[in-house]
Amino acid sequence: MTHVNVKSVAKSYGSTPVLSDISTEFGEGSFTSLLGPSGSGKTTLLRIIAGFIRPDQGVVMIGDQDVTHVPVWGRNIGMMFQSYALFPHMTIAQNVAFGLERRGIRGEAARKEVERALEMVRLPGFAERFPKQLSGGQQQRVALARAIVIKPNVLLLDEPLSALDRRLRQEMQVELLRIQRQSGLTTIFVTHDQEEALTLSDKVAILDKGKIVQIGDPATVYERPRTRFAAEFLGDSNFLPGVVEAGGVRLEDGGIIEVAGSLPSAGTKVTLAVRPEKMSPAGEGKNRISAQIKTVIYAGPVLSYHLETSQGRELKLFSQNRDGNLMREGENVTLSWMPEHTVALVE
C-alpha cells in the first residue's frame, strides 16, 4: 500500500513515440483507471510501472524507492492479465502460493495465506483443482488472489475483465472494488471501456497518442472535459463552434450561449461541448438552439434523437423515457440547457 509516481516518462519504438512526457502520481490506496483507445499508450505505461518495459527517459517511483532500473521481479507488484495467465500445470493452491514461495513463505504458513486469499475472492475449497476445471470468471478471481496474497506495493491490472461477458464483467467489477477497498491496495487499472473506468475509479486518466489528456475524478472528467478528445471518448458530446464575445459565445445561427466559468478573450474561436442528456426540449435552461429531428431511436429507458440545426450541425439528444411519449421525425424543436453544463474548448 504505497503511492506510485512517474516523472517525465517517455518511450519510443524506433522513431515512433509511444509515450511522451508522462508525469503523474497515484495516491496511496487509490484506484486509478488509465483509459484510452488502442495505441494510446496506456498499456505501455502500465508495463513501464510494472517493469516489463524500460522507459527511454523518466523515473518510476514506488513508494520512496526509485525502481526505474529495477527489473519486474524485484518490484513487489501484483499483476493481473487479460488472459488470466494461470499456470495450467499447477493446482489453484500452487498458483496462489507461487509468489509466496518466491518470498520464502512455504509450508503451513503459505497454506494459511492461500486459504485466506481464496476466501477473500470467494473461492474457498478450490485449492486442489486445476485452472482448466474453472470457468473464466473463477480463473480471474484466482488470478486476483494470486496477485494480492503477496501483499504487493501496487496492484496493476491490464484489461482483466475484457474477456468476460457483460453480466460476469459487472459482477467482477463489484468484486474488484470490494477487495480493493478491503485491502487498501494502490491500484492502476487499464481499460478501453469508459463505463468501467467511471464505475470503478477514484481517478480517471485519459490517454491519447501517448499523452495524458486529462486526469481527475470521474465526475469532473465527465462533466468538464478539457479537450475535444476527452469530451468524445468519455460519453457522447454535441459540438457547437462559435466565437467569444462579451458575455458569452456567439454561435453560427446568431444565438448567444452563456458559459459558467471564465472564457478566453473576445474574438477567440471556441467549440462548445454539451452532453446530449443535459439538453431538453422543454425550455428550462438559458441557452437555446433550434433543430429538426431526423431520427428517433427508442432504446427502452432512454429515448435518443438525432437532430440537425439550420446550419447543418448534427446534434444528439438523450431523453429519459418518463412517460413513453416520443417526438416525431421532422418535428422542429427548440432545445435548451444550462450554462453550467456548457464547456468551452479551445482547439
Binding site: 527489473p71 521481479w73 492479465f81 488472459s83 499456470f87 495450467p88 482448466k132 496477485a147 503477496i150 496493476l156
Partner: protein
Amino acid sequence: MKTLGRFYLFAILAFLYTPIIVMMAMGFNESPLYQLPFSFSTRWYVALMGNTGLLTAGLNSIIIAVITAVVATSLGTVASVALSRHTFRGRSLLQLLLLPPIAIPWLITGTAMLIFFYWSGIGRGMHALIIGHVALAIPYVVIVVGTGFKTIRADLEEAAMSLGSTPVHAFYSVTLPLLFPSILGAALFAFAVSLDQFVISYFLATPGYTTLPVQIYSAIRKGFTPEINAISTILLLGSMAAILIFARFAKPGENRDPR
C-alpha cells in the same frame, strides 16, 4: 459418394499394409526359399538369435539411436528456446538453415559427409555415425519443440516474473514443465529417425561397425534367408511403437490456455 470414398481409403490402406504384412508373414514361413503354401514356423526367429552379424548391427543401431535422441534433443531444445522466444536479426535465415539436412536428398549429404570425414581425419565408424545422425535429427527436434512453444502463452512467464521469478526461474518453473511432452516427443522422433536411417549410415559405416539397416541391405544384395524377415519385423514393430507413443504425447491442447 461417401461409401465410395471410404472404400477407396480402405483400398489405399490395403496397398500400404499388404507388403508389410506379407513380409512379416514370410518371417514365420517354414521355407527358406520363400515358397508358398504357407506353413508356420518360428525357426527363423530362433536362427536370428544365433546370427551375430544381425544382432550386433541391431545393438549398434539401438545404441546410436539412444545417443542420437539424447544429444539431438538437448541441442535442439536449447536452440528452439532461442528461436522461439528471442527476437534477433537473422532469425528467419537460421530457421531456414535447419532445412538442408532434411530437404536435401540424403545421398548428397551422406556422400558429402563421407568426403569431409575422410579428408579431415574424422573417419568412419561409430563416432561418424553419431555425428551424422544427430545432424539429421536436430531439425526435427527443433520443429517439434518449436510447435510446442507456440502453445505456451508468453504471458505465463510474465505472470511468474510479476510474482518475483527471475527470467531463468520463470523458464524452469513454468515453461519447461509445459514443454516437457513436446521434448519427450521430440526425443522419440529423433530415436525413430536414427533407427530407420539408412543412406547416411550406409556411407559412414565400416565393415567392422555397421547399423541394422545397412546390414539388412547387404544381406538383400548378397542373398538372404528369412532371418532378415524376422529382424525386419522386429525393427518395424519397434518403430511403429515409438511413433504411436509419440502420437499420444504430442496431442496438442493439453496445455493450451482455455481461451
